[in-house]
């Protein structure tokens, strides 16, 4: 008697649908999570459709119109114009592109090696493997993140690629640390010991037994970190080590506008608020995800 595979897949599918509904119930229990999700979706959509939704798409690059320079917010330019007459709203919307790309790429690159390192070190806790991996991460963690990134970008040519590389390099140890903590406590759990007693392979135990139990913490941290990386990227740009003009970037805009404070405040305040808005969105979303993914006794 062979079980009908279609029937099994059908059941699995229904189960997944139910899990999704349950997850949404938990997520939507806190309205702030919804606010976060909406903010993040707005920012992502704006970034993707920037050329179509921004009022003056041509202002994204090296565009100059001194006749309109430094105009305060008006119906024509909702957030005003900058020193060379470019529409700030347009540049903020295009700025989201760089910020988001920075956030997603850095976290996407930093998380996997950090997670693997943490899992392996945690599983082999109190062995030389643990010592080796965790001492290396300690070295990275000992250097203040922004300083390390600045040092790297200062040695290498200042461009977007190296900025991302620098932030990635300083970011993976945080994932190693996080996952190490989880894995080293899970390796004592009975379900891990049951797998060991039965003779399951080490990769099976690490990736099939331990990893799924770390996912909720990892996802939460990734979401929160996108916000922090955006701030770091903006900080790098602010000191001139990130995105280079004329690429529209929120950090650079804040930095350029700072020269005209406080009279032409909109040049600094608007991109700064855009950063705050984005980071806030990711933070609220991260909190919501944590509630949603938590294993709960029914």
């Amino acid at each position: 008697m062979h079980s009908d595979t279609r029937e099994i897949q059908q059941r699995l599918w229904e189960k997944r649908k139910d899990n999704l509904r349950r997850a949404w119930y938990k997520f939507s229990g806190n309205y702030l999570s919804i606010v976060g999700l909406v903010i993040v979706l707005i920012v992502i959509l704006l970034a993707i459709f920037a050329p179509w939704v921004s009022p003056y798409p041509e202002h994204r690059g090296a565009f100059v119109d001194f006749s309109k320079s430094m105009e305060p917010p008006s119906s024509e330019h909702l957030l005003g114009t900058d020193a060379v007459g470019r529409d700030i709203l347009t540049r903020v919307i295009f700025g989201f592109r760089f910020s988001l790309m920075m956030g997603f790429v850095v976290i996407g690159l930093a998380a996997p090696p950090g997670i693997v390192a943490g899992l392996v070190a945690g599983y082999f806790r109190d062995t030389w493997v643990d010592t080796l991996i965790m001492r290396i991460t300690d070295v990275f963690l000992a250097v203040p993140p922004l300083i390390l990134a600045m040092a790297i970008t200062a040695v290498l040519p200042p461009n977007v690629f190296y900025a991302m590389l620098a932030v990635t390099l300083m970011w993976w140890p945080w994932y190693a640390r996080l996952v190490y903590g989880i894995a080293s406590s899970l390796q004592n759990e009975f379900f891990v010991q049951a797998a060991q007693v039965t003779g399951a392979s080490t990769p099976y135990i690490i990736f099939k037994e331990i990893l799924p139990n770390s996912v909720s913490a990892i996802f939460t941290k990734m979401t929160l970190d996108v916000g922090i990386v955006i701030i770091i990227a903006a900080s790098l740009s602010f000191v001139g080590l990130g995105a280079q003009p004329p690429t529209p970037d929120l950090g650079t805009m804040v930095s350029d506008g700072a020269k005209y404070m406080p009279d032409q405040w909109w040049m600094t305040v608007c991109p700064a608020l855009a950063i705050v808005f984005t980071v806030l969105g990711f933070n609220l979303l991260g909190d919501g995800l944590r509630d949603m993914l938590a294993v709960e006794e029914v």
Binding site: R22, Y25, K26, V298
Partner: protein, 330 residues
Amino acid sequence: MTDTGKLLDVRDLCVSYRTYEGKLKVVDGLTLEVRHGEKVGLVGETGCGKTTTMRAILGILPRPAGQVDSGEIIFKGNNVLQMKQKEIQRIRGVAITAIFQNPTAALNPVFTIGQQLYDVIRSQEWRKSGKRLSGKEVHDRAVKALKEAALHDPERLLSNYPVQLSGGMKQRVCIALAMVSDAELLIADEPGTALDVTIQDQILRLSMFMMSKRNTATLYIEHSLGVIREWMDRVYVMYAGRTVEVANSVDIFRSPRHPYTRGLLEAVPKLTGGGIARGIMGRVPEYIDPPGGCRFHPRCEYRMDICTKEKPPFFDLGDEHKVACYHSGS
């Protein structure tokens, strides 16, 4: 309407939790009473609503999910459910006190035993008489309380942290904490479960001795039928949010009447051997859509038509033995 005999009178209590699945009616029409100085056991399996009942009485239901839907909890003639938060605080910890299952979780790990005991003694006295005690008085009372709980070297113990004590000692400290107020009612939630039998034996002997001395009544929540039989005066058996049988602790073990009580008793492994009964068939019902009528009917071998339709009332079998069952009641 003060009934002098009754210290605690719970009438038709309904408590529910809101969850994703819907509203869970965890306690549904529970009735029980505790008289002055009486030792009452509340026995039932996991998920029958024992702990929820305790929380409702103490006013510590998890918020916002848990809520009391209807019923009355009358303590010394006053309905606790209609009291203001301030009035409840004057009762809780002073007139009603509690011991919990896990002594490790009940004591705060970052404060010494002394600090925790002093705080309780000070606030008790403040709530009771509005008096502020001097440091010396507080210390003396703390030492006395620990001595009474049969703890050696109380002076040194006061400066110890909970981690430095064994499970049995921690539970003794919890008993000392609960007893400083000379409360009239002690609610205990399985205080011996986390301990070994020899230690549980000591803890039970100690707490019963202290309660008899003070004439403290107790509502003792317990899943171990043996403990109930050996130490309690009267027993309520609880199933799926309702009390199904009540009797004194001799009768209920000699002649259990409710099919659930019988099944439960048979399932207890006996020291005399002879194997263990299969237990009760089926499983505890889901609270989202509990069976109508008698909640036990899907698992009952004596099920009749009426059991599926109407909630059985309490049938009086004499000698304070009551059972909520159409089969064995009539």
